[in-house]
């Protein structure tokens, strides 16, 4: 099956800092989603981005499908950004496969 690798595995930020999270995948995909799992366990849909660039407030994402990677940018981080960020991909006709996640802690 498809392999999904996220880096870094852990990230500690000072409030106000910017950061970039990376997702590499081993095969072509029809669907790519970024999720944020908050400390209460809720999985929040951030972006549906099989290709191109999208922005939503302080967050933006870019997927370069031909090179099999996606990036999630967090700008001016806040303590509420803490949690685990998951990348999930779906090859054609297959199921959504999650990466191992990046655990982010934003310190005040």
């Amino acid at each position: 099956g498809i392999q999904v690798e996220q880096s870094p595995p852990d990230l500690i930020l000072q409030e106000g800092a910017n950061s970039t999270l990376r997702c590499n995948f081993s095969d072509s995909v029809n669907n790519l989603q970024w999720f944020h799992q908050n400390p209460w366990g809720q999985l929040i849909n951030l972006f549906y981005i099989p290709s191109g660039t999208k922005q939503n407030g302080r967050l933006s994402a870019t997927t370069v499908a031909t090179e099999r990677y996606s990036l999630l940018y967090i700008s001016s981080s806040q303590t509420t950004d803490s949690g685990v960020y998951f990348c999930a991909v779906r090859p054609a006709g297959n199921k959504l496969t999650f990466g191992g996640g990046t655990r982010v802690l934003v310190k005040p």
Partner: protein, 113 residues
């Protein structure tokens, strides 16, 4: 728009007991998914429904897990009998159709004693 509803929020049972979880997807969503998330890992798909039919149950431990979506709307997932390794969060998700963005419920946290 109401989100995906799941209940209960938490459940504690002893091994070898049975347990059931309920999910009501977003209105109009044809595709419903059940995931298992073990602590420290990403969610893993257990079963996918398209309306009331099963699309993929390849990772469902069928000797103890069962799921149904009889009327093509809400769904139940059952474990009988439970094992210690079933301790996890069980997440339900739905999408308008196959391949569309998935939206997740808050999950049921299951602890097996």
């Amino acid at each position: 728009e109401a989100g995906v509803a799941q209940s209960p929020r938490y459940k504690i049972i002893e091994k070898r007991q049975s347990v059931a979880f309920w999910c009501n997807p977003i209105s109009g969503h044809a595709t419903l998914y059940w995931y298992q998330q073990i602590l420290g890992q990403g969610p893993k798909l257990l079963i996918q429904f398209q309306n009331n039919g099963v699309v993929d149950d390849s990772q469902l431990p069928k000797d103890r897990f069962s799921a149904e979506r009889l009327k093509g709307v809400d769904s139940t997932l059952k474990i009988q009998p439970a094992k210690l390794e079933d301790s996890a969060v069980y997440l339900c998700a739905s999408s308008f159709d196959r391949g569309q963005p998935q939206h997740f419920g808050d999950g049921t946290r299951l602890s097996i004693l």
